[in-house]
């Protein structure tokens, strides 16, 4: 099948595996999708760090919370888009709740204690999810108008996956424009550059921090809500995902949003191709890349902001 009009390489049967251009393209597209997953997971984390200098250990828990909220609100309302918005906003509000109640107290202390506090918050959020939604995984169905898909070689890729890849790009552009062109973005950049000058200018840094926290956790909630249609959410998922979120953000350079996007996509494509070519070592590859980058360039590939 020559679905997308590119003449395939002759199918090589080398005895180990066979590589065709179609499969390569399909795996790359799956890699793009995986990368968008990592990007949606990491964007809020790196945004929050960039402005408030807090490494939010609870970030993946908020991501999973978005998925759970999506499940509940989709079950009740039946509207996919409305549920996305609801779970995004509610997750953001939960993030703001913790920011005002706890995280605000520790902006000036040793980063170790910041990491510990957000770790405690992660445990609390995870356990509340278990209390509310139980121990069994929850998922939602892909909306009907997105059920179809394209075939590349013998791999089918649904429109929903393509939409997520597109939304990943869209979020990058939106975040970039909000930070760099809007009035609120100007305030955020002022606080980021010099907290004292910002106060002299009449900007309340606490309000800016809270709004950044809202945006960051809301983006996590949106990501989780989008992903719950493809990956069920359940207990322990947050523990698993936070490692990937950290790896992406740290490889890119803490607080570097554009870097986080590039690194997410790179890791997604590399791990997807690795899983296809050498399934035994796929999870080793991500950790090895992370360790290698941190050893050679501890400030991250694109530098800390």
């Amino acid at each position: 099948m020559y679905t997308i009009g590119i003449h395939p390489l002759p199918k090589l049967i080398t005895g180990v595996w066979y590589v065709s251009l179609e499969n390569f393209l399909a795996q790359s597209l799956i890699g793009l999708y995986k990368g968008s997953f990592y990007w949606l997971l990491a964007v809020g984390l790196t945004l929050i760090f960039g402005v408030t200098r807090i490494i939010n250990f609870a970030h993946a828990s908020f991501f999973v919370l978005g998925g759970y909220l999506m499940f509940t609100s989709y079950t009740y309302t039946g509207s996919f888009v409305l549920s996305l918005v609801v779970s995004m906003i509610v997750t953001g509000l939960v993030g703001v709740f913790f920011e005002i109640l706890l995280i605000r107290r520790i902006y000036r202390v040793n980063p170790i204690y910041q990491l510990l506090l957000t770790f405690g918050i992660a445990l609390v959020v995870n356990e509340f999810q278990k209390i509310i939604w139980g121990k069994f995984p929850k998922y939602v169905d892909i909306p009907e108008y997105m059920r179809g898909g394209i075939m590349i070689g013998d791999v089918g890729i649904s429109y929903y996956v393509l939409t997520i890849i597109g939304l990943g790009f869209l979020i990058l552009i939106l975040v970039h424009f909000i930070i760099n062109t809007s009035l609120w973005g100007l305030k955020v950049r002022t606080v980021w550059r010099d907290n004292v000058v910002a106060q002299v200018l009449g900007i309340n840094p606490n309000a800016v921090y809270t709004s950044v926290f809202f945006l960051g956790t809301a983006l996590a909630g949106l990501g989780g809500a989008l992903m719950v249609a493809l990956h069920p959410v359940g207990p322990g998922l947050g523990d698993h995902l936070i490692v990937y979120a950290f790896i992406v953000v740290v490889i890119a350079g803490l607080g570097n949003i554009m870097g986080a996007f590039i690194v997410s996509i790179l890791i997604g494509v590399i791990s997807s191709l690795a899983a296809w070519l050498a399934p035994e070592v796929d999870i080793l590859i991500v950790y090895s890349i992370a360790a290698l980058v941190l050893l050679l360039k501890p400030e991250g590939l694109f530098g800390e902001r």
Partner: protein, 331 residues
């Protein structure tokens, strides 16, 4: 005179009291208490080794489980495949931590704070990935079963015998770690934890001190892992997952990271809570999360800090009433 100085040290007194209390536990003959106390000693060692990094050197690690898991797996593999004896297996398991600590330490200790935390997380997960994926040797997610308590040289198959086996290593490790901390090295480690920018002014290499600390910490963690694998008879890759590294962290924070015996108290609280609450509620992690938040926001000294504060207040009120003087105990 020396003995009097030693006995005036509150930590030594605590260690002696603890050792005697622990030695009496098997006399109850209750298998459950013996098992739980064995587990308590294993976790205490793990938490103490963690606090050497966290409380003294000021390094937050999220990969400490790699030493625990390495000790456990090497002991398991050695006793199952090479030489069937728990004591030899234990020694080999503990020694295996040295090369691992030197390699990982050398690579990750150049970075501090958040980067160190995340680098140790990545290395820890690398070890986890190896344990899960290298099926032919490690048994994958099933782990290794049937680690012997009865060996060629040593037979510790009864719970009491194994209890005392752990106790001996527990006391040796607790005392030697305390001597290490009280030594010149320990002083430098604490100086480093207090101010890492000024220590180089004294002419010492920060990396060397950190590397020694990391290795010492890894050795004790591997000892606890080896003891754990022989106690359980089974090892699974769960003990290498990063959430397992968070357990000694929680114990240290609960007990109080600024006190030498804090992690031991933390391990005691942790074991008591998990065994008691696990029967009543499955959501005890919620309590742990709240406890961590309370410790970070309010009581950095943990439970030990609260206790010390209470004792000091009591002493002060006793002193104010002149009780000591009337008894002729204080001039």
């Amino acid at each position: 005179m020396l003995l009097r100085n030693v006995l005036r040290d509150v930590n030594v007194v605590l260690i002696v009291i603890l050792a005697f209390t622990l030695a009496l536990i098997p006399l109850t003959g209750d298998r459950f208490y013996i098992y739980i106390t064995s587990l308590f000693m294993v976790y205490s060692l793990f938490a103490l080794s963690y606090n050497l990094l966290f409380g003294y050197a000021g390094l937050l690690s999220f990969g400490h489980a790699m030493f625990f898991a390495t000790g456990a797996y090497v002991t398991a593999l050695f006793t199952l495949k090479v030489f069937r004896d728990p004591l030899v297996g234990l020694i080999i398991g503990v020694m295996s931590a040295i090369p691992l600590a030197l390699i990982v330490g050398f690579l990750s200790l150049r970075h501090t704070r958040v980067y160190f935390a995340i680098l140790t997380l990545a290395f820890g997960m690398l070890i986890y990935a190896v344990l899960v994926k290298w099926r032919s040797v490690t048994g994958g997610t099933d782990g290794l079963v049937g680690i012997p308590k009865r060996g060629v040289i040593l037979d510790i198959s009864s719970p009491q015998a194994y209890y005392y086996f752990i106790l001996v290593f527990f006391i040796i490790a607790v005392l030697s770690l305390y001597i290490f901390i009280k030594s010149r090295w320990g002083l430098m480690i604490r100086a480093l934890g207090a101010n890492e920018d000024r220590l180089p002014f004294t002419g010492h290499s920060v990396l060397t001190i950190r590397l020694y600390t990391f290795t010492a910490s890894g050795l004790i963690a591997a000892l606890s892992g080896s003891l754990y694998s022989i106690l359980m008879g089974v090892v699974t890759p769960d003990i290498a997952y990063w959430t397992f590294s968070a357990e000694p962290l929680v114990m240290t924070l609960l007990g109080g990271s600024t006190y030498y015996m804090g992690p031991v108290l933390g391990a005691f609280i942790f074991i008591t809570l998990t065994t008691m609450l696990a029967r009543f509620a499955e959501y005890w992690l919620l309590l742990l999360g709240l406890a961590i938040i309370a410790v970070v926001v309010g009581f950095r000294g943990g439970v030990s800090g609260v206790l010390v504060l209470a004792v000091e207040r009591l002493m002060r009120s006793v002193e104010a009433r002149g009780v000591w003087r009337s008894l002729g105990l204080k001039t």
